[in-house]
């Protein structure tokens, strides 16, 4: 009798448990993230119908991942120390731009200029980050709003500085009729594709596109690989940074940072200097922002000055949120997943959309997805009571 009952109940129980697990899995993963992942998968599935080469698509996604990942990584230290999402990323970007322009001014050609740019950018990012951190310590609780406007103020201040600073290298300044730096400066001849080309796996060198005699599968594989380029150096560079941050978060200083972010009362009780820890995290974020923009430039090919850094924080912020981070919790995995998803959508939507309906709605979709994700993170009940 009992056995029968058990037998009857077990499958049902199992089923409901399975459902529960799916439910909790979805909950942990987050519905918006699920939708975004689904959307990206859908894009890849319909890509062939839109005559988009999957090899090219993957190459683009990987490339853009490498370009942006370090800027997304720059969110991590500040989130850990409880300073919230680093909307002040443009400050770090400016430090990077100063490094880049100074490096080109020094006029050392080739890859060495990349390391020189990082070297130049470091003191700036330390000073900016220190001041920015001190400021954020004074406004605990509303860091994000102020960070946004600190970033904006810094960018608009630098707009004036780019006009006024006495740079001399002819590749950077307006040829005639104007004064100050150009709005875009080519990195060609300096560190253009320095990391991209380091150990790059260019499959098109070894595989030719499909020819008539190939079977369906072979042809598809050939088409795929003949368009695939993997910028190994850039990915490695990110991997090194990701590892350093991961390792750092395990050190004494790193754990202190996490403690400050998750429970500042407890951190204070255990003798951690809260303000100092937060300042250090802000300096780290700022410096990562500076390195991030340099990596971006070496792949993109141009240094963008003036108004360009204004909205560069938003993609990074929404990328890490899409990756599963919240306002006060973030991991390296969040960075990697988030950047792939975000950049995947950004690169895939225009090409697929264009191929299918001949209209480019990608900009609108990007705005709605990225800002919607930020709103979602800001309005979640569990995190409102920090």
């Amino acid at each position: 009798m009992t056995n029968e009952l058990e037998l009857q109940q077990t499958p049902q129980k199992k089923g409901s448990a399975f459902l529960e697990r799916i439910k909790s899995g979805v909950k942990a993963f987050g519905l918006p993230r699920l939708i975004i992942t689904g959307f990206l998968v859908l894009l890849f599935l319909i890509a062939p119908a839109a005559h988009v080469n999957i090899g090219t698509a993957i190459t683009d996604v990987i490339n853009r991942f490498g370009m942006n990942a370090i800027m997304v990584l720059a969110m991590v230290p500040m989130i850990h120390s409880g300073c919230g999402l680093n909307f002040g990323l443009p400050l770090g970007i400016i430090a990077g731009l100063l490094g880049a322009t100074l490096s080109i001014q020094t006029n050392i050609p080739g890859g060495a200029s990349f390391w020189l740019a990082i070297l130049y950018a470091t003191p700036f990012s330390v000073i900016f980050g220190w001041a920015y951190g001190k400021l954020l310590n004074k406004v605990k609780g509303s860091e994000m709003m102020i960070a946004t406007y600190v970033g904006f103020s810094a960018v608009s201040f630098m707009c004036m500085m780019w006009l006024l600073l006495p740079f001399k290298n002819p590749t950077m300044i307006w040829g005639y009729g104007g004064s100050g730096l150009r709005t875009t400066i080519s990195t060609q001849g300096y560190y253009y594709h320095y990391l991209n080309d380091f150990l790059a796996l260019d499959f098109s060198k070894w595989v030719s596109p499909a020819s008539v005699g190939d079977g369906a599968f072979i042809g598809a594989m050939k088409n795929f690989f003949s368009h695939l380029v993997i910028p190994t150096g850039m990915i490695l560079f990110f991997a090194v940074f990701a590892f350093i941050i991961w390792a750092f978060l395990k050190t004494k200083m790193g754990t202190a940072m996490t403690a400050v972010g998750s429970n500042s009362q407890f951190a204070m009780a255990s003798g951690i200097n809260i303000d100092r820890t937060r300042t250090i995290s802000v300096i780290m974020s700022t410096w990562l922002g500076a390195v991030g923009i340099l990596v971006y430039e070496q792949s993109f090919g141009f240094i963008q000055l003036y108004n360009a850094p204004f909205y560069m924080a938003m993609p990074a912020v929404s990328a890490i949120l899409i990756g599963g981070a919240s306002v006060n919790k973030a991991t390296i995995t969040n960075v990697i997943i988030g950047t792939i998803l975000y950049q995947g959508i950004v690169t895939m939507t225009p090409s697929v959309m264009n191929g299918l309906v001949h209209t480019d709605m990608s900009e609108v979709i990007r705005i709605i997805i990225s800002n919607g994700m930020i709103i979602y993170a800001l309005t979640r009940k569990t995190e409102a009571s920090r």
Partner: protein, 418 residues
């Protein structure tokens, strides 16, 4: 006599009287205190009004440097005062409700723009056109305001950054509607509005009107106006702005207005007192959004052209900066702040390109400068507010502690005596 007077004052006059009383009290305090105390108070006053003071000093220097004749500066400032007042005043009510600067006012601006686009497609011109646009904007503003308010209720304590992100998010939705749906789903007949591809609205929409029709440009300002020298004084616009001021003063006295102030003071206490906190907050945002929609219509009718995809986001930033320049803070703002702010901010805005050109021969520098100042002012005000709020909190905690200690001491002495 005083009785008759008391009976006669309406709630609005009460507001003015309160202002007068406060000033006379301030004066009495000033006379009664010694000079040393006054000097200290002066320092405090300067610290409390640092932003307007910086601006007054800046304008005092920049106007002569710009080389612009004073009369033309005044003319431009008057124009901009008429153009922007309504928008800036729309920010006041959420501040009253303790929700900070409503960056979501751009939502109302979008609603107003949609109204104007539709009206100019239907060829309704002049003041009827503007009124129709305002009527169309109301339901859109209400829906958007409700959305924004509901979201902000889920993000208590970080309303500003959330409303800021909502304005970005809605900008995407606005683009979706205006750039893709208008002309394809929403019927738009006029080809002069549509992009060459057949759907979507052009980057600039001109309200000056085609031949034969008068259009909507300046119809409000020219309806009833007179000139002082070269300065046009649009009476109807002034009346509308005055009406809004009276509405705000009156609104403060209503039950809803009082509820909002209570919610702004302390949400929990207000809840204890039986106020529906969430509903009150949503209403504050809805009212602000609707007003911003009207403000945008007034603004654009004066401008005569609409930058379809830029106007609203720009106006949000400039309105907020102007209000802060007038000495408002995240938790306190009044009508005076709005007007003073518009005058100071736009004086800076007008003269800085000329000043930049005269100083280093580069007008671009002045343009960058004024953008920097707009952002810088918002940053400075936000930081000052936070620092002050924290200091006040610390002060409160200290007082509480002292009171407790005193009580303990009294108890001890009482015990000793016993």
């Amino acid at each position: 006599m005083s009785n008759i007077f008391k009976n006669a004052v309406t709630s609005v006059k009460d507001g003015f009287k309160g202002f007068g009383d406060r000033q006379s009290k301030k004066f009495h305090d000033f006379v009664n205190r010694g000079p040393k105390e006054n000097l200290k108070n002066l320092g405090e006053f300067a610290l409390n009004n640092i932003v307007p003071i910086i601006f007054i000093v800046f304008c005092a220097f920049a106007i002569p440097i710009s080389g612009q004749p004073f009369s033309s500066v005044v003319r431009d400032v008057v124009t901009r005062l008429m153009r922007n007042s309504f928008l800036v005043l729309s920010l006041l009510i959420p501040i009253m409700a303790g929700m900070g600067l409503n960056f979501g006012m751009t939502l109302g601006a979008m609603a107003g723009q949609i109204g104007l686009i539709l009206v100019s497609d239907w060829q309704v011109v002049g003041i009827p056109g503007l009124m129709l646009a305002a009527i169309i904007s109301i339901p859109i503003s209400i829906v958007l305001g409700w959305f924004c308010g509901t979201m902000l209720n889920k993000a208590k304590g970080r309303e500003m950054v959330t409303s800021y992100m909502i304005s970005f998010f809605m900008n995407g939705v606005y683009q979706l509607v205006v750039l893709y749906m208008m002309g394809s789903i929403i019927p738009i007949a006029s080809n002069s509005l549509l992009l060459p591809r057949g759907y979507g609205i052009r980057n600039t929409v001109n309200f000056a009107g085609t031949k034969g029709s008068l259009g909507m440009r300046k119809s409000l300002d020219n309806f009833w106006s007179f000139n002082i020298g070269t300065i046009q004084i649009p009476i109807l616009t002034i009346l509308i702005i005055a009406l809004l001021c009276i509405f705000i003063l009156w609104f403060k006295k209503t039950k809803l207005g009082q509820d909002m102030r209570a919610v702004g003071q302390d949400m929990e206490v207000a809840r204890e007192a039986g106020i529906k906190v969430e509903r009150t907050r949503v209403l504050a945002i809805i009212i602000s959004t609707v007003l911003a929609g009207f403000g945008m219509i007034i603004y654009l009718s004066n401008m005569g052209t609409l930058n379809t995809y830029n106007s609203h986001s720009q106006i949000g930033m400039f309105s907020i900066a102007a209000l802060l320049v007038g000495g408002a803070s995240v938790s306190k703002a009044n009508i005076r702040n709005a007007f003073l702010g518009i005058i100071l901010f736009h004086t800076m805005f007008i003269v800085s390109p000329y000043a930049g050109k005269n100083l280093i021969g580069e007008a671009q520098l002045g343009e960058y400068f004024r953008v920097f100042v707009s952002y810088g002012v918002i940053t400075l005000s936000l930081v000052l507010y936070e620092v002050k709020a924290r200091r006040a909190k610390g002060h409160q905690a200290k007082e509480l502690k002292e009171a407790q200690e005193k009580m303990l001491k009294n108890k001890e002495t009482a015990e000793v005596i016993a």
